[in-house]
Symmetry: C2
Subunit: 738 residues, 2 copies
């Protein structure tokens, strides 16, 4: 390692980069810095920490971590996940964390039978099986793909059951797809539904299929969506999806342990009866696209619409039923819902000045199979980052101003189980003390560009950090785009602000959910991602998410991993070190103003037709805007030498995101509390600002006249709650109490 320099009088420099939307990063020293009276000469500036981090984060070390994490399948709640938790705990102990905790939860998870595979069968008119789907995905390249530990193919929480029926092809299983079928006069009652993955969360497809009376659901990934270069140019020759891949995934809609809603799954928890658990009652099963061909190529009924056609070399038909008279599909699912224990591992580097303020970093432990990308590219990054931070503590006597809390979550793949139970258990403390939660579910799922979901409060910290991270892509560097930020701005630009990278809504789909949407703690989720040639990272949740996929295809040399690790560390430093929290109030105000303008533009006439005034809402939006400007002015006069004055201002900043939490939940969605950033109801992956308003307005358009009055009441009621939250957000930024 290079020597790092002790810097005197560096604060002006630090201040230069620290102007964040008008908020000043305050590095001026006080007698309390680092918890002891020190001379200014001894202090390091943020830039020195960043330099240290950049020098120390080692691609080869990340590679080693990833190798050690991906030998065996490690589903949530299994012995293998527990071994992985212990490995992480041991690593953190050895690295020298101040505290390491293993936090257990007794939860309901779901597994395929170890003896009897889940199968899909074509059955002829005599009831004889003429074709059977693959029990497991075919080993193609890495030796571990062939080990017996690989589980039978399944979807988490799919109900066990053996059903036989006619098949209907439902495209992506979206609301509009089911509507189309209804228009065609195709009834799903008693049918088995065949849907392709990729546009919406699979649990939504299962829910709709069940609601429409279907008796089973079969899912596959279409080659047009995941293997656009044809069947030859797939894993292990490229990162595209091979014909034998059948992606796993949960089909439970509600997050956390399904038996302990709203409360932690501790020993003393109350469990709702299994019959009330929010999990499907119908069997659901993923199959490969070579197996889907067996079904689709025999399907009867009318040809599917042009846009429903996929990449298999046949004309897709809608069904119901097969062209061969009397043939049926048999779906045989042998999953078990099992009470088991999953562990979170929590490692803490205590803050020197404000140990009771937490900057949290998290990633999950469990994988559907080997987890080469999801989640262990992120786990490897986290272990490397903790290695470097603890080294800084040990070797340099450094401590962050605020505590850094590293979180390895159990059973994320089952619907954020470990993290959600934890935010339920420690929600009061976290709402009081947490500054931000920084999630890296996967460090990479491609090498095309950074993609970041974030609460607006963290925008500027992330942008400024990304501007300092060298571009890991040599082609891009050659083209003059020297930083992660540059490629991001080019390949994922903001549609409104040109030359600025797109910040995506912090919707749902990973462990930040409890933090952002239940507790109001600003969250980030970042990774390197794939290009838009596919609907998702092709090997996602398949057998082929191996170490080799990462090491030989996506990230030779692990430079993309390093870039994400560096970025994660920079963001953590910029939240843990400055005296004044560098929250982007202006970005939040802009975000909210745009979202409110969108709603008025899209639905203003509809709302006006009901004589419902939006005036209070728009006034509250403007007031929030003004309050952020006033706040900026007020802290210019702040005495940074007064630690309690600094704390007061930081507490006000922390309260902004909390102000948007409505403990009573969104309309019909008691498990979502954030009135601004909650994801839209119809697709748990995407995010729409003011989802409670926009979802209700969307639903109103689709609702028959006689049912509308109730929905308008829902809208008006929620509009008042949203307005109240906006007013609170303005008020918490002032010293005036009320």
């Amino acid at each position: 390692m290079g020597k790092y320099s002790l810097v005197t009088g560096c604060f002006a420099g630090a201040l230069g980069l620290a102007v964040v939307l008008g908020l000043v990063f305050a590095f001026a020293t006080t007698p309390w810095r680092n918890g002891r009276n020190v001379d200014e000469e001894e202090l390091l500036a943020l830039e020195d920490f960043e330099d240290y981090l950049m020098r120390q984060v080692d691609p080869q070390s990340i590679r080693q971590f990833l190798r050690s994490l991906t030998h065996l399948p490690h589903l949530g709640g299994t012995v293998e996940e527990h071994r992985m938790s212990a490995l992480i705990s041991d690593t953190w102990h050895q690295q020298g964390m101040d505290e390491v905790h293993m936090v257990p939860y007794e939860v309901l998870l779901s597994y395929p039978s170890k003896e009897v595979p889940n199968l899909v069968r074509l059955v002829d008119q005599d009831g004889a099986a003429t074709w059977v789907s693959a029990a497991k995905q075919k080993p193609l390249y890495s030796p571990e793909e062939a080990i017996p530990d690989v589980p039978f193919t399944f979807n988490g929480y799919a109900a066990p059951g053996n059903v036989t029926g006619d098949v209907v092809y439902v495209n992506y299983g979206r609301a509009q797809d089911f509507e189309k079928l209804s228009e065609e006069g195709i009834d799903l009652e008693g049918k088995i539904v065949l849907a392709r993955y990729g546009k919406i969360f699979r649990a939504n497809i299962a829910q709709t299929a069940e609601d429409l009376g279907a008796v089973g659901l079969v899912l596959f990934s279409d080659p047009s969506d995941y293997a656009p270069e044809g069947p030859e140019f797939v894993y292990p020759h490229s990162y595209f999806l091979p014909p034998s891949a059948a992606p796993f995934g949960t089909v439970k809609l509600v997050d956390g342990d399904p038996l302990t809603p709203f409360y932690p799954a501790t020993q003393s928890a109350f469990h709702i009866p299994m019959a009330e658990a929010p999990i499907p009652t119908i069997p659901v099963q993923p199959i490969s696209y070579e197996d889907a061909w067996q079904i689709l190529s025999r399907l009867g009924g009318a040809p599917a619409p042009e846009e429903w056609q996929g990449g298999l070399n046949i004309t897709y038909h809608l069904g119901p039923g097969f062209s061969q008279p009397g043939w049926k599909l048999n779906l045989d699912v042998n999953n078990n819902n099992t009470h088991t224990t999953t562990y979170n591992v929590i490692g803490v580097i205590k803050g020197s000045v404000e140990p009771d303020r937490y900057v949290l970093l998290g990633n999950h432990i469990d994988a559907w199979i080997f987890g080469g990308l999801d989640p262990n590219s992120g786990t490897a990054a986290m272990l490397e980052l903790s290695r470097v931070f603890t080294k800084l503590v040990k070797e340099k006597g450094w401590r962050p101003r605020r505590s850094l809390v590293f979180c390895a979550w159990g059973a994320e793949e089952y619907g954020l189980v470990g993290s959600l139970e934890w935010t339920e258990q420690f929600g009061k403390q976290l709402a009081d003390r947490a500054v931000a939660y920084l999630n890296v579910d996967m460090a990479i799922e491609g090498n095309y560009t950074l993609r970041t979901k974030s609460a607006p409060l963290l925008y500027q910290v992330i942008y400024e950090s990304a501007k300092k991270i060298p571009n890991p892509d040599p082609e891009e560097t050659k083209a003059g785009r020297l930083t992660v930020y540059d490629t991001w701005a080019l390949r994922k630009p903001d549609p409104v602000e040109s030359n600025t990278p797109l910040m995506q809504f912090i919707g749902s789909g990973s462990d930040y959910k409890g933090f952002q949407h239940n507790l109001g703690i600003p969250c980030m989720d970042t990774r390197y991602t794939y290009s838009n040639r596919t609907l998702g990272e092709p090997q996602y949740h398949t057998l082929y998410e191996t170490f080799a996929l990462v090491d030989e295809i996506y990230d030779r040399g692990f430079h993309f991993h390093k870039a994400v690790t560096d970025l994660w560390g920079f963001v953590a430093l910029r939240l843990s070190e400055p005296e004044i929290l560098p929250f982007s109030l202006g970005a939040y105000a802009t975000f909210i103003s745009r979202a409110s303008a969108n709603i008025l533009e899209k639905y203003g006439d509809l709302i006006a037709s009901q004589n419902i005034t939006m005036d209070y809402f728009t006034a509250a939006v403007q007031k929030f805007n003004l309050s952020t400007i006033d706040f900026k002015k007020s802290i210019e006069k702040l005495d940074l030498k007064n630690p309690l004055a600094v704390r007061r201002v930081n507490d006000q900043l922390m309260m902004v995101e909390r102000a948007f939490i409505d403990t009573r939940g969104l309309p019909g969605r008691p498990d979502y509390n954030h009135i601004v950033t909650a994801p839209s109801k119809n697709d748990a992956y995407s995010g729409t600002a003011f989802a409670g308003l926009s979802d209700t307005l969307f639903a109103l358009q689709e609702t028959p006249d006689d049912l509308r009055p109730d929905l308008w009441v829902t809208f008006s009621r929620h509009l008042a709650a949203v307005t109240h939250a906006l007013e609170t957000a303005s008020k918490v930024l002032t010293d005036d109490l009320w």
Copy 2:
């Protein structure tokens, strides 16, 4: 005024009195004390502030305030209440508060007609009225009793209506009273119910009567309960209830504005339809006991049981109906439910060191008529206390360490409307910043002894303060009981700890409800009270609660007022000044241990019969106990010179009460969130620890077998929530995060 002394090196003395259940009051100075670097010599100790207060609080000044507050009736939401709010606001401005805010709410209140009185009539077999009740209470003594501004007698939120029917006498209208009638075969369907005030909240009587099919309710105060010395020895000759008194009061069960549940009644609020408002659908009317005699003396049916007999010189019968054939009672109520505005007035003395930590003091503005005791004895005390504190600021340059926030609430008599809407509007800020809320609804309602309801966390501060307040009762002083504490300990002793005054549960019934039971901010409610010769202060809510009642009967010289004012100020100082919050963790642990033991003793066998384990619950109780001991040890090592370390510990202390808040509410009671201190369901005035558990267990005993399983589920579910809250309360007291 006497000169107060500047004290050097007084901290050892202050520490002597500051040991609070093992928690150290920390008066050691730091450079941050009073927000500026000062020399220790300049500082005053707590005792000096107390001396100043004691010298400055002036009985004659309190008397003048009370006189100015009690000239006119000032019902919530009226012009007269608004004038009173303006008077308080002006006074605080003149006194020199840092901030004074008028905070309006648009709410639904209830008034009698100005033209048509509410009347109860005896109607003979031909439908002719043979007797009519008094429209107003009779003027007896003070000139203002005769002014036309006095409203017609009514109960707040009683439904308008004109009903005629047979009367049934229901004693105090408790559950057991209605059961007794049911056993006697008396059906209430279509009947008018006659109940006496005094044992339970009147709104509970109305609710039960309505539920049982009664068409109206008439309420009176029985002379055996409020005039035990006979009809001659009553107001204005004594403080006992005169025959013409008809106490007002709300019959709405749910607190706050009935049309905006859970959200503040601001301009942008959503209003539920009037039909869904939680107010009675039957007419309810209070009458005097001379009018009640007219009904009771004519009642037919069987004689009422011995314990149901009252102080009128007749045998009370049950009814239904009158002894005269064909006679009926006619109840004619002409109230209006009215949308109107009520104002809170908030005055702030900003803290020097921690302006964002609030010690709140409150009392309400509105009175049913003149409010001589309720609330203006408290208002007069509050205005005197604010006068003295602001004088200290102006004359001595003193500021409290934490902000003192004075709150004058609107429309309390209508069910805590102003304070509840305010805690709904500013709940996030208050939960984050409020140290305690100190309520004095009335300074006096008698001169017998202090009576205090309190959260356990405030016990020791109150005890220690009461020990320093000279006894205002010369008789008691002569008997050697020199302090308020001494008489309190004698006349209201704790049944378990002899020689210690009783601390009553902080149930409900005044403006602390939102603070204690929704937000988890520890509350006190204190006053001088009456002896146990009556069921309540006799003139409570009647015309005769005049200035004269206070000035000539209860508190000649206003020494009892001064004692309560001093106590209030002392408690406020002891919460605003010390570096470490002097919260009685040990008292809370004891309180909880006793309550859990009570439940196990009373219901242990019943619970065990269901194979429900109480082990986790009792373990959590013990853990909380231990955590308070560990906490005590840990703060002994605290560096009091480190302001952020002090703040961290105080934040942990503040979190204890918050830990007991369950945002999901108690079983069937979404408007009560505190799992320990919520009042029992059947009587909103009393308090039972763990009411969610004990109410459910009580109900189980009364429930038929087939309905029990659901209640056991309710019990188990809530038991888990309670256990989780207890575990959280232990955890918030540690530096260990989880």
